[in-house]
């Protein structure tokens, strides 16, 4: 995985205990978050955030009504 400048890789994931399926993260960053067909709850198949999606993933985290998105960078 190509590191960002300064060697920091941003990671993000969805806390499944907090997610209630509001689906706003997939609207903000549909390239990163996927929704379950069955209940619409979100997950991040790949926790490493590509540099070009960092801003979108941060917006998704800020807009999550349940604050279920964890960012580590």
């Amino acid at each position: 995985m190509a590191p960002l400048s300064k060697g920091i890789v941003m990671k993000a994931w969805v806390d499944a205990d907090k997610c209630q399926g509001h689906t706003l993260c997939a609207m903000a960053a549909g390239e990163f978050f996927v929704l379950s067909d069955v209940d619409g709850h979100a997950s991040a198949p790949n926790e490493t955030v590509p540099p070009e999606l960092e801003a979108k993933v941060r917006l998704a985290a800020g807009g999550c009504p349940e604050q279920a998105i964890v960012i580590e960078a």
Partner: protein, 440 residues
């Protein structure tokens, strides 16, 4: 008052009055100075009005119960309406986990984003037909001729009920919401509502006799905690699906179209960049108008929160509407910003009871908004003739919203023919089946 009652912050708060609707922003600012407060109205209850407290409390179903137990089989709690109006339990909204979770799991495959996406062609066609009925005349009532119809037909489809029956449920479903609890019209409205519930009981039996796919079928074949639900419980669930499906999206549509008519510059900006703005604009209208302004709960154990002593059995109101105007979370909360970011609003509730129909609501709303902006871009609502719900205590909605626009041309057949065509398609293609996990 006895010495066992601790002193508590007290305010006067009555959300069923016309003054509350008219002075909502001022009342909200006043309430948020004391965001966890006791009010004497409706038998006495706590009112939670800031985002942080609403967020904390709504996500703690162990502390706050939604249970409605009219037959006193558990603790006799009164559910989510303040004052409590229904003599029966209103579906999953008046249940606690684990049963609530089991019912939700049963219904999710009909209401998930993937499930709802399958209905996009029907929603677009019904919307098209509603507009076609009015497009040549240059005048429309956005409630009666559009926003009452599309969500109702879609709700019928999801439930697996005859699409044309939307009209039977329409008036009772809306009137039971907008009639104030002290209105002289309550007996008539309740009679109409019980007629609707009786009709739903007969539909339960009809689907048992001749199974057809949809939410009704999922519920009549359900086994929850090893038992078959009673018909009273199932009818409550269906009433909830109808109430939630009919009135809320209608309200969002009416309120936001009225706003866009009054803000033509913002309307032009939205129409010019629908792909870029429709998601954020929809969330902003949800935040700003919050069609379902709050839910009641019952405190399950004595505890201290925000310096206040909550006691077991206390009633409590979580105000999604006031939390959505909290300046700590939403800068300039009383402004509509169509491109607002970090919009973590609670219009669909928070926690385990998040509106199960939220994906349906968004899909229908965006379709109606898009087609109106495309086909009636210069509409002007008649704000004088618009009829707002007299009380916004249950739903922040409108009964009528007449508007005029430059006439256009029809694109297809009328509403009745369109509904009949989609009924055939529902039957032939079993459209109301649940989505199946792909195992991807």
């Amino acid at each position: 008052m006895t010495d066992t009652v601790p002193s508590r912050a007290e305010v006067h708060y009555d959300r069923h009055t016309p003054e509350y609707r008219e002075q909502f922003e001022q009342v909200t600012a006043d309430m948020q100075r004391c965001p966890v407060a006791w009010t004497e109205t409706y038998g006495g209850h706590w009112v939670i009005s800031d985002h942080k407290s609403v967020f904390d409390l709504a996500r703690d179903p162990q502390l706050l119960s939604s249970d409605h137990d009219p037959h006193n089989e558990r603790k006799g709690y009164k559910g989510i309406s303040i004052p409590s109006i229904s003599p029966t339990q209103t579906g999953i909204l008046e249940m606690d986990p684990p049963d609530q979770k089991d019912y939700r799991a049963l219904m999710n495959p009909y209401l998930s984003p993937a499930a709802v996406a399958r209905w996009a062609p029907m929603v677009a066609d019904i919307t098209r037909a509603c507009l076609d009925e009015k497009i040549e005349s240059g005048s429309i009532d956005f409630v009666d001729d559009l926003a009452n119809i599309v969500p109702a037909v879609m709700t019928m489809a999801l439930m697996g009920l005859p699409l044309a029956d939307w009209v039977i449920y329409c008036e009772p479903a809306h009137a039971v919401i907008y009639t104030p609890p002290d209105s002289a019209d309550v007996p008539r409205v309740m009679e109409m509502y019980f007629g609707m519930v009786a009709k739903l009981h007969s539909e339960l039996e009809a689907v048992r006799q001749r199974p057809r796919p949809g939410l009704v079928h999922a519920l009549v074949t359900a086994e929850i905690a090893g038992a078959t639900p009673t018909d009273e419980l199932l009818a409550g669930m269906l009433s909830l699906l109808i109430g939630g499906g009919f009135d809320t999206t209608t309200s969002l549509t009416a309120k936001s179209l009225d706003w866009l008519s009054n803000n033509p510059g913002e309307r032009a900006r939205l129409a010019a960049d629908l792909p870029g703005l429709i998601n954020s604009a929809t969330e902003e209208f949800l935040r700003f108008f919050t069609p379902a302004p709050g839910d009641g709960r019952t405190v399950t154990k004595d505890c201290e929160y925000a310096g206040q002593q909550l006691r077991e059995g206390d009633r409590l109101w979580l105000s999604w509407a006031m939390a959505n105007r909290d300046p700590e979370v939403f800068p300039e909360p009383n402004e509509v910003k169509l491109d607002r970011t970090n919009n973590r609003h609670s219009a669909f509730g928070l926690g385990v009871h998040r509106c199960i129909g939220s994906n349906v609501a968004r899909a229908i709303y965006k379709t109606m908004l898009t087609q109106v902006l495309e086909r009636m871009p210069d509409f002007v609502c008649d704000s004088e003739a618009a009829v707002h719900y007299p009380t916004v205590g249950v739903i922040n909605g409108m009964q009528h919203l007449p508007a005029t626009f430059t006439p256009g041309t029809r694109l297809g057949d009328g509403l009745d023919a369109t509904i009949a065509r989609w009924q055939q398609k529902c039957d032939d293609e079993q459209l109301a089946n649940p989505v199946v996990a792909t195992g991807a």
